[in-house]
Amino acid sequence: MNREEIIARLKPIIKVYVDDKSSLDHLDESTDFIKDLKINSANLVDIVLDVEEEFAIEIDNTAMEKMLSVGASIAVIEQKLADK
């Protein structure tokens, strides 16, 4: 799975937690969940759960803490997929 494919599957997950949907138009690897998308920090744990389900992976606490942006999330997903 390349990074574009991961983004494509990540976008609908993230969309649920974003109030202003137009902020998703410019989604790229540098997009920060809280700063750019104004996602409530409490929802970051929900995003992780949704990502686990979508990619059939398990994300530990340490990896979870890193998932604050699209790029960081992709890195975690790639790593966990490789570990499978």
Binding site: V16, Y17, A42, N43, V45, D46, L49
Partner: protein, 425 residues
């Protein structure tokens, strides 16, 4: 000087009506919201009927966002949010428009438990060591103050935002607490109300206590029989009621409709002494509560046109009538009209007080007394105290000035509130 306090908005989610218009029609026509409950039967309940508000997904989506509905499993919060937002809009108020909280508006919105289904779901996950799969909203849905927290956010409230809990007086108590806050000038507007979760996990304890009727499973609409000889326990139900209380000055300056004035009331407890216990009222305390409410409102027993009783349809109904009669010093044909909403909606537990207060205020506003159903066979102990004509079995159109509402609850707690028709004076 104390503020006068009036009611400018109403909202309701009841088993027989999930909006003000349907509810008004239902109570005027004695429409029952009690139905057979398959789930209770499957779980082996003695009482297999309930009063559960029916809400469509489309309706729910008008009050909660798709994100809020994700992993949402709290009927009590749902009912409270709908009734509360409806009352707010009914009062001509809107949600937040900028970033400034409405410092003068708050809420006291009570409940007994919060999100009991969410709690159950979570307990299973915890026991399976799946703590991390709980998601982010378990706390908000299961904390007792969940309902006031949801409402506070939706309405941008900047004054006190809290939840009270006092068994079956919760709703009446919330209105009296909100009244006090406005009267003393600490708030200009308060959304007062209460809610109660639906379902077996909230009702089972009452079924086990044998206080719910199990004799009428085949005739749901006939099952809730307050004041009748054949009363055999209450029908468990749920919902929410909400009232916007506001200082008279504020209501006048906004130029909005005034449903009624809150004249006063009283809250007390019998200390579980004398006839009182965890589950039974101390009659001295009940009478004292009613008398103190009259005094607080500056009226006498004879000024009351109608009483909306607690009257749950147990053997205690006659005791309640005796307490009212003794407290007001009135009996026979001198006794005010009296009715019980529980005949059509069952006992909404922590939501009962607020839903029944909404009904009481509607009676004052429209000028009617809603009919009692299922008490054609009046309890002779009751007709030995008050004349049977004081218990209307049919819709009665009547210009009312003062309505008294009381609620009594586990823990030997009592609340009595006095509403008066507001005339521009």
């Amino acid at each position: 000087m104390d503020n006068r306090v009036v009611i400018t908005g109403l909202g309701v989610v009841a088993p027989n009506g999930i909006d003000l218009k349907t509810f008004t029609h239902a109570i005027q026509h004695g429409v029952s919201g009690i139905k057979y409950d398959q789930q209770l039967t499957q779980l082996g309940f003695s009482c297999q009927i309930s009063g559960t508000p029916e809400l469509s997904d489309e309706l729910i989506s008008r009050y909660l966002t798709p994100l809020e509905l994700k992993n949402f499993n709290s009927t009590g919060i749902l009912y409270g949010v709908i009734a509360g937002m409806d009352a707010w809009h009914d009062a001509g108020l809107s949600g937040p428009t900028g970033n400034e909280p409405d410092w003068d508006s708050g809420t006291i919105f009570g409940t007994g438990t919060s999100g009991i289904d969410k709690f159950r779901e979570s307990i299973y996950k915890i026991d399976e060591q799946q703590i991390r799969k709980l998601g982010s909203t378990v706390v908000a849905q299961t904390m007792a103050s969940g309902v006031s927290a949801y409402l506070g956010g939706k309405l941008g409230l900047g004054n006190q935002v809290t939840t009270n809990s006092s068994a079956c007086i919760t709703g009446t108590e919330s209105i009296l607490m909100a009244y006090e806050r406005i009267k003393s000038g600490q708030a200009t507007r308060m959304l007062a109300g209460s809610t109660s979760d639906s379902g077996p996990y909230i009702w089972a304890g009452f079924d086990a206590l044998k206080v719910c009727t199990y004799k009428n499973n085949d005739a749901p609409e006939k099952a809730s029989r307050p004041m009748s000889k054949s009363a055999s326990g209450f029908v468990p139900s749920s919902g929410a009621g909400a009232l916007v209380l506001e200082s008279l000055d504020s209501a006048r300056s906004r130029g909005v409709r005034i449903y009624a004035e809150v004249l006063g009331g009283n809250i007390n407890s019998g200390g579980q002494l004398g006839t009182g216990s965890m589950t039974a009222p101390n009659n001295t305390a009940v009478q004292r509560c009613i008398k103190a409410a009259l005094l607080n409102a500056g009226i006498e027993g004879k000024d009351i046109d109608a009483i909306n009783g607690h009257l749950t349809a147990t053997a205690k109904d006659a005791v309640e009538i005796q307490n009212w009669s003794a407290a007001l010093g009135l009996e026979g044909t001198d006794f005010p009209f009296i009715n019980s909403l529980k005949s059509t909606i069952g006992h909404c537990l922590t939501a009962a007080g607020s839903i029944e207060c909404v009904a009481s205020v509607l009676q004052l506003d429209h000028g009617f007394i809603f009919p009692n159903i299922n008490c054609e066979d009046l309890n002779p102990e009751i007709t030995g105290i008050i004349d049977r004509k004081r218990i209307p079995l049919k819709f009665l159109q009547k210009d009312l000035k003062v309505v008294a509402k009381a609620s009594f609850g586990f823990g030997d707690v009592n609340a009595c509130i006095i509403f008066k028709k507001y005339r521009n004076e």
